[in-house]
């Protein structure tokens, strides 16, 4: 299924989509991996940083709960809004 990004559905239909969705959000969200992992660990996540990185590169599957927690962590971090400044052209 192609995601044209037009509808912006926040709830993915199945697990592969959830992973793709998380990976895309992580890339666009300007979040550091150590920062994400620390936050995810803080809300109860149990997979180590390497495992989370592999998941976000769409290399491995994780237990549904861990995927949900990563999703939650990304959502809560981006909602806080780091608001990064930007030098044009960099």
């Amino acid at each position: 299924m192609m995601d044209d990004g037009g509808l912006g559905t926040p709830q993915p239909a199945f697990e592969a989509d959830q992973r793709k969705f998380a990976a895309a959000q992580f890339r666009s969200g300007n979040i550091s991996l150590p920062g994400l992992w620390t936050y995810y660990c803080g809300i109860g996540g149990n997979v180590d940083q390497l495992g989370v990185e592999a998941y976000l590169h769409e290399l491995v599957e994780l237990a549904p709960l861990q995927m949900d927690l990563i999703q939650t962590a990304i959502k809560e971090i981006t909602a806080d809004g780091p608001g990064s400044a930007h030098v044009p052209g960099l």
């Binding site: 300007n30 979040i31 550091s32 150590p34 920062g35 620390t38 936050y39 660990c41 803080g42 809300i43 109860g44 237990a63 549904p64 709960l65 949900d68 927690l69 939650t72 809560e76 780091p82 608001g83 990064s84 400044a85 930007h86 030098v87 044009p88 052209g89 960099l90």
Partner: protein, 260 residues
């Protein structure tokens, strides 16, 4: 065996007037690294001492420093309002000597703004603000960041050869200090994140235990209930957990001892 370290003697005269104050400059930078509470404060003080150190009678320099880190806001600092306005002016154009130095990681020297043809619009605007010449020096860092020192002179040809050599020498020393300051800042951030995570996890784990007891379910199922509740109500997981605990035990504060 090849020598992979630099054993060249510093050529006398190259460091110019700064040579005398070099020792003090290094000590001053070390103090700044130790005393600054954040990177911006360190940069502001560094810009000020660079401007003082490199200024000559009749050639008062302004100094701005820009640091771009991955996934972090850009840090900008300056010795005075003139340098700050110049950095902002250049950012508004999106191009100019300092941004070019930052992107190409090589030195950019504009000896005469009127004669330079590379950035005509920016040069004209900078000239209006009383700038005669510009020297932009990239700082070579080990940290995953890019930084540039921007020096502004009110005179044309404000950076003669010995002036450039002195500035390059000081920029190299300042880069090492900046590397240290960035490292310390990154470790401090990581420590703060971990302390926050420890605190949050205590609250969440307590709530998970309560949900398990109430629903007679295992840990994973309790977590799913908590995650769903947070998602449906669009409230942070930690806040839902805190609500559950205070609903049962009446607690609103959850002290977590975390000594350094």
């Amino acid at each position: 065996m090849s020598q992979d370290f630099d054993i060249r003697e510093p050529e006398s005269g190259n460091v110019g007037r700064a040579g005398a104050g070099l020792h003090e400059f290094v000590l001053h930078l070390q103090d700044l690294v130790l005393a600054s509470s954040d990177v911006r404060e360190f940069l502001t003080d560094t810009a000020a001492i660079l401007a003082t150190q490199l200024s000559q009678p009749g050639n008062h320099l302004s100094c701005g420093i820009t640091v771009v880190r991955q996934k972090r806001p850009v840090a900008v600092a300056s010795s005075d309002a003139l340098a700050r306005n110049q950095d902002e002016l250049q950012n508004s154009f999106g191009r100019g000597p300092c941004l070019t130095a930052l992107r190409t990681e090589s030195m950019v020297h504009v000896p005469d703004l009127d004669a330079d043809v590379r950035w005509p619009k920016y040069n004209h605007a900078a000239r209006q603000m009383g700038i005669g010449s510009i020297l932009a020096l990239p700082m070579h860092l080990h940290a995953p960041a890019h930084a540039v020192i921007n020096l502004y002179s009110p005179n044309t040809d404000g950076f003669p050869h010995h002036g450039i050599d002195a500035a390059v020498g000081l920029a190299g020393i300042a880069a090492k200090a900046l590397d240290l300051a960035l490292n310390i800042a990154q470790l401090r951030d990581a420590r703060d994140d971990l302390a926050a995570a420890l605190k949050s996890r205590t609250v969440i784990d307590t709530a998970i235990g309560a949900i398990m007891a109430q629903n007679r379910c295992n840990r994973d199922a309790a977590f799913e209930i908590l995650v769903k509740a947070s998602s449906y109500r669009n409230i942070k997981l930690k806040e839902v957990a805190a609500g559950i605990i205070s609903g049962i035990g009446g607690e609103r504060e959850f002290p977590t001892t975390y000594d350094e």
